[in-house]
């Protein structure tokens, strides 16, 4: 104990002179536990006629790591300059080590360069003392650090900030829409499929395509109108289906046999014109629109209330799809 107190109180001094320059290095303790801090102080004393270059320390002094270093403290008294620097060192290996001599370079008044260094300081790094008589204990669990008031305030601020940004975006979009005034896409009136099909058939008739020799285009358009009608009416992808596939799908819906045969005749007959260069006579061409119109009329929902389909009654009508 006496030895320990002695070593702490009377710090070990490494003192070196190079003529007029004196370098002194001291530590607060020569025996520390592994990882403990060693307070290492360096003092350089020299006359003002000598220019001293204090070394720049990076991250270590020999095998000792620098934990922290203070700025240089320089004082001048009666033509003598005193430079002090405090450094905190640490080491993570147990054993006996030396803190290497501290080297200071200087230039004399006559221009000659020289250097001075302190003495090395022996330091004992003690390992962790293990009491083998005690039972082995588990590692302590992690400590839960309670959230500080600052942290709570920070999180609250983030939430409020995000809410503000969200509202700002919402307000901006709303304002923009309002200022655009009426640029919203106008919704098309919900025209029932059969009404639409009948309208399109009338338009096709008015085009007088077959009279102009465009028989193939005439049949293509006619079947397209009917197929689109089936798509909207029955929810089948008739435009992407072949005639055979359309007929197979239509078998799942209740309809008159004659209507079914009429649809098949219209589609297969049109296929012949479209793909087999069939040249129908004028009467056949005329018949296409009539036939298509009849199909639409016979398959449209049976009950209509004030221009809108009555879904409830529609479900009970004869054209309701049923799973086969």
């Amino acid at each position: 104990m006496v030895k320990r107190i002695f070593s702490i109180v009377i710090c070990v001094t490494g003192l070196a002179f190079s003529q007029d320059v004196a370098v002194t290095a001291t530590v607060d303790s020569q025996s520390v536990a592994i990882g403990d801090w060693i307070r290492y102080s360096v003092e350089v004393k020299h006359p003002s006629s000598i220019t001293v270059t204090f070394p720049v320390l990076k991250d270590s002094i020999g095998s000792f790591e620098i934990v922290r270093q203070d700025t240089l403290l320089t004082t001048e008294l009666n033509g003598e300059i005193d430079i002090k620097k405090n450094i905190v060192l640490s080491k993570y290996d147990a054993g006996n080590f030396y803190i290497q001599p501290f080297v200071v370079h200087f230039i004399r008044a006559d221009g000659k360069a020289d250097s001075a260094l302190s003495n090395p300081i022996p330091v004992e790094i003690r390992g962790v003392e293990v009491d083998t008589s005690q039972a082995i204990k588990d590692v302590k669990p992690q400590l839960t650090v309670p959230m500080s008031a600052e942290e709570i305030a920070m999180y609250a601020g983030i939430v409020i900030g995000l809410a503000g940004i969200g509202y700002g975006i919402y307000y901006y979009i709303k304002k923009r829409k309002r200022s655009a005034g009426g640029t919203e896409i106008e919704k098309k009136p919900n025209i029932p499929p059969h009404v639409l099909a009948l309208m399109q058939l009338e338009e096709l008739k008015a085009k007088r395509l077959w009279q102009a020799g465009e028989i193939k285009a005439y049949y293509s358009e006619a079947t397209e109108i009917v197929r689109r009608y089936f798509e909207l009416r029955y929810g089948i992808m008739a435009l992407e289906m072949t005639t055979g596939e359309v007929m197979t799908q239509l078998e799942h819906f209740r309809m008159e046999k004659n209507t079914f045969r009429s649809i098949e005749s219209l589609l297969t007959g049109s296929d012949l014109v479209k793909f087999a260069k069939h040249q129908p006579v004028a009467a056949e061409n005329e018949l296409v629109i009539t036939q298509a119109r009849t199909i639409v009329e016979e398959t449209k929902p049976a009950i209509e209330v004030s221009g809108k389909l009555n879904d409830h009654e529609n479900a009970e009508s004869k054209n309701v799809p049923v799973q086969s």
Binding site: K216, S220, F275
Partner: protein
Amino acid sequence: MNYDIKAINEKIQKESAFVDLLTLEINKVIVGQKHMVERLLIGLLANGHILLEGVPGLAKTLAIKTLASAIDAKFQRIQFTPDLLPADLVGTLIYNQKDGKFQTKKGPIFSNFILADEINRSPAKVQSALLESMQERQVTIGEETFKLDEPFLVLATQNPIEQEGTYPLPEAQVDRFMLKVKITYPSKEEELGIMRQNVSGKYAEVKPVVSTKEILKARASMQEIYMDEKIERYILDIVFATRNPKDAQLPNLANLINYGASPRATISMALASKAYAFIKRRGYVIPEDVRAVAMDVMRHRIGVTYEAEAEEVTSETIVQEILNKVEVP
């Protein structure tokens, strides 16, 4: 080109009469597998080779053997193994000690119908030798080139369940097959028929009902089948949808397709559609014909991305989606 559809229709109806005879003869031995038999006929008529994929025991060999017997043509089965050499397939030059000259020994490829069984069991050099013969329809042994007999139809099989010790066909070589047909298990009723037929030990004798000459004549007639521009454009729409799915309103497929179908797919689809129309005894092609062959023509010609593989999306799913989306003319 000026088409007289009525005359073509009549001609096709007359010349395709053998299709029913041939099908009946094949069906004496093959129970079910209508799809496979139909595709064999398409390959035969459209002069395209077929890659068959299916587990063992689904009558792949029997089907082509029966087809060869019913057509009175030469048939060869080549079992592809890891030690097979190109010379085992195409033939080689043998030194004749008597006259001190090299003599050509033709390989089994010199037949009308070839069954390349488990083609992916042989290394690339053998596969290349076969696929080259398929494409060029000729074989060079030493310095001499030999034309292969017509009809020349190669049916290659792949077993989808065993991948160890196999050499998968590269994409460029798979593309040379006009159709890739997937064979599924027969139905319960069909399998009952198969069981009864085999247990009884009485096997129907297949007689030649068509000559190779008639097949070649049918091929020539098939070329005359009318294909409207609308159908041609429909085929193009389908093929282009595999390359630019976004243009076909299928943006969801863009990340799933690595590469789309080649122009060879377009040609194959047109030829196979005509062959299908011929089988259905029609002188013109309708969208049904295209739809009927599209899956078999396209499934091996679309490369899927890693994303698709991760999502378990196959090329078949992609083809089906395209067929469901592209408007029929």
